[in-house]
């Protein structure tokens, strides 16, 4: 039994992306879900499943009440921060493929800039397994995602000779894409590599422009069966693979205690599943949506997903290799560095638009899109394609 090819994304929705939404996170969630349901040509009463992130502040039943959904048959939450993004769609696809639900909406909504900011010092120190993991790090002032990623980035530079400029090329590419995306926060604000190099240190070796922005907003994705999707207004975007994964000795963002710091084994695991399930290879995708909370992990993802060998990403991305006209356009919407940081969900929406052929920075002849979720944490991924 497999979910491959049985389910599709029929609708996508979002609020505006801002630095201060001025409304509650629940309102953002309800607005994004309603937008996605309408995009799918459905009504809230058609929805019988809801999935979100474990980190989301809006309970499925709260969203159900706001939307007036009569009853749910399926609800689920996916753990591990931004690593959950594609996992929500994987859960929804499993529920639909197994008949547990007909129409599942995946959502993520937060005031991540005007409310609780993930980039600030983390103070979690509960006596549970996660709190104990953090406790090996927080007392040392090792308390922010940028710092946790920087630790792996330094080792990656050491092992492969990558430089800060190599990381900067990712930022330059994302800002180039965002510059022509009217929904992007950094619309019409491209940057140069020199500007990247001159931006202040956040956690050396990461400059400010290696770090994604912080945003307020919400995104929702409607998953249903391919058959039902065919009767709906948008062309079905078929879920050809969906996977979650961890690596050996996995920790939240501190998998430093064994193995290779210059790698992301959880993403390697997810990548292998995605290629296996879809029967595709990296050469078969026309564009990739790679989770870009911090630039170095875009390079390591390219390697873990098989687009190039270990340590070779800096050659892969140079000369605009991941820009819209490059060998593999990555994040044509501008990613989280350029468009908005909605915990990876806005990337899934972009993957859908690229397959539909409706993106503002449309890649030509898109048949398959790879989408990944947050890295450094247990992660997830999708392969979306035309039907």
């Amino acid at each position: 039994m497999s979910l491959v090819g049985k389910t599709a994304i029929a609708g996508i929705g979002a609020t505006e992306f801002s630095k201060e939404s001025g409304r509650s996170e629940l309102q953002l969630a309800a607005e994004a879900c309603l937008d996605a349901i309408r995009d799918a040509g459905l009504k809230p009463s058609d929805v019988d499943g809801l999935v979100t992130f474990a980190a989301d502040a809006n309970a499925e039943i709260a969203v159900q009440r706001e939307l007036g959904i009569p009853e749910l048959r399926f609800f689920s939450r996916v753990e591990y921060g931004g690593g959950a993004a594609c996992g929500t769609v994987a859960h929804a696809a499993m529920a639909v493929a197994t008949g547990q639900a007909d129409v599942v909406v995946c959502y993520r909504a937060f005031n991540e800039r005007s409310g609780h900011r993930f980039g600030q010092a983390n103070r979690s120190a509960r006596v549970d397994s996660t709190g104990l993991e953090f406790s090996w790090h927080l007392p040392y002032g090792f308390a922010t995602p940028a710092a946790w990623v920087a630790m792996q980035a330094r080792r990656y530079m050491h092992e492969y000779g990558a430089t800060s400029e190599d990381f900067g090329r990712v930022a330059v590419a994302m800002r180039r894409h965002a510059a022509t995306n009217p929904k992007a926060w950094f619309h019409q604000r491209p940057i140069t590599l020199a500007e990247h190099q001159e931006s202040r240190w956040i956690v050396d070796p990461l400059h400010l422009l290696d770090c994604c922005q912080e945003s307020d907003g919400g995104v929702a994705i409607v998953v249903t069966s391919v058959e039902r999707a065919r009767d709906l207004p948008n062309p079905p975007v078929v879920i050809n693979a969906a996977a979650q994964g961890t690596g050996p000795d996995q920790m939240m963002m501190f998998s430093y205690y064994s193995g290779d710091l210059a790698a992301l084994p959880a993403m390697g695991n997810v990548g292998r599943r995605l290629w296996e399930q879809s029967g595709l290879t990296p050469a078969d995708v026309q564009t990739a949506i790679l989770y870009d909370h911090f630039t170095p992990f875009v390079l390591i993802q390219l390697e873990e997903l098989g687009f190039c060998g270990h340590g070779e990403a800096r050659d892969f991305i140079k000369d605009g290799g991941i820009e819209i006209d490059g060998r593999l356009p990555v994040n044509p919407h501008g990613g989280q560095l350029g468009e908005a940081y909605i915990h990876g969900m806005n990337g899934i929406a972009e993957g859908v638009r690229q397959v539909r052929g409706t993106a503002v920075n449309q890649v030509r002849d898109v048949r398959n899109v790879l989408v990944t979720a947050g890295t450094g944490v247990p992660t997830s991924g999708l392969v979306l394609g035309v039907s």
Binding site: G119, Q120, A121, R123, A125, R126, V127, D128, G131, L132, E133, F134, S135, W136, H137, L138, P139, Y140, G141, F142, A143, T144, A147, A150, M151, Q152, R154, R155, H158, R200, W201, I202, V203, D204, P205, L206, F254, Y256, Y257, S258, L261
Partner: protein, 457 residues
Amino acid sequence: MTGVHDATGVHDRLQALAAELAEVGERAGAPCLDPVNGAMIRNWTQALGDTGDWAEVAPPAMIQVWSMPGLVAQKGASAADEILRLLNESGYTGVVATNCEQTYDRYVKVGEQLRSTMRFGELVGPKKTAMGEGYFVTWYQSWYDENDQRVAEMLFRVLKFQPRKRSGAKSKGGPIKPAIGLDTAFYWDGAKEGELRIQCCADCGALRHPPGPMCPKCHSVKRDHVVASGRGEVHSYVVHHHPPVPGKTPPYVVAVIDLDEGVRVVGNVNGCAPEDVSIGMPVQVVFERVDDDLTLPQWIPADAPVEAPEAAAEEPPADLEIPLTPTFVIATALATRDFTPVHHDTELARAQGTKDIFLNILTSIGLVQRAALQAEPGAVLESISVRLGVPAYAGDTLRVHTERVDATTLKVRGAVSLGDHVTATVRIKESEPPVGGRPPTPPAAPEERLRRQGGAR
């Protein structure tokens, strides 16, 4: 709080006022209430631990004492009061004394009645300083004898600054506390005892960090630990700059350390500049006690001295070491007729935001004189120029180093745990026969360790 709406306007008004004050020139200063007398000299020498012979002349560094008002409600005016007031009103509310220079035309004799004058010096600014943007204000006080001959002059300079808005970057309080559970308590208990403990399976012997309840290799739940050697090398590291993190002052280094035992741990690398940290660098553990409940294993370069990585270790022995007991701080303040409460009232000093009562400037200059005459017994001092640094709080120790620069110049530096308290240049008159300050008669005050600096010429 900057509060300067019209910076140009303020600057112009300050300049105009400074010109006005300069025009006024010298005027009568604080009265000298008593003639130069043996009782006040004795109070002063006893309080400062000065063992010189001052039977006929007063210690030169006492000059300002003769015109101090004593315990009175209204302090005498200074030549710069109006400027200081305007600076306060313009947002330059912070004040710190930066320089005090005394020039002695001659030593004053017991029995002489002095008078003092004052004059405004100059206003320099605005300048960007470590404290914030500010103006340096300088004024002078002079002392004359009954024949209107000048006997001494003093330059006094303060920095009036706009206290900087706290950036938030400075750490407040201690570090984030770890959650400690049944499976991890042994590690933190070990740190308190100065041990870096690594979990070890009691059945198969596998080492593991971070620890957990079940051995992932043999699935035994029987646990033990070994005490690590505390040696390792940097596997990777970061330098944290932003955002602010509780208990930490950026930039600071966090590293993954490969222990010699084959497991990795995370900690800060201290004891060297962030730019001196590198992958592969050998490090050794030290234990940072945060409070009674928490000690953090930390890391320093393997070749660094374990006990005292700070500069104090390299310092040659002090020529004069003065324990700053509350009695010392209070007695010297009163012996210099300085009744400002921050020098004798602990509670009030703390209420004003300082750590404790602290040494007054007149005493600091007196101690510079004492150190200079200890190094050059019998010398006649021409001047003492003091640059003021960190406060010397009660409970600290003042360590004074004296260094000869040339035949007539000494450098005197007095340091406390916070850093340099005074750095002074002392000039000696060349050809006059000694008239006072003859060699101290040992033994010195019993609580002090005196060491003559030999062969420094």
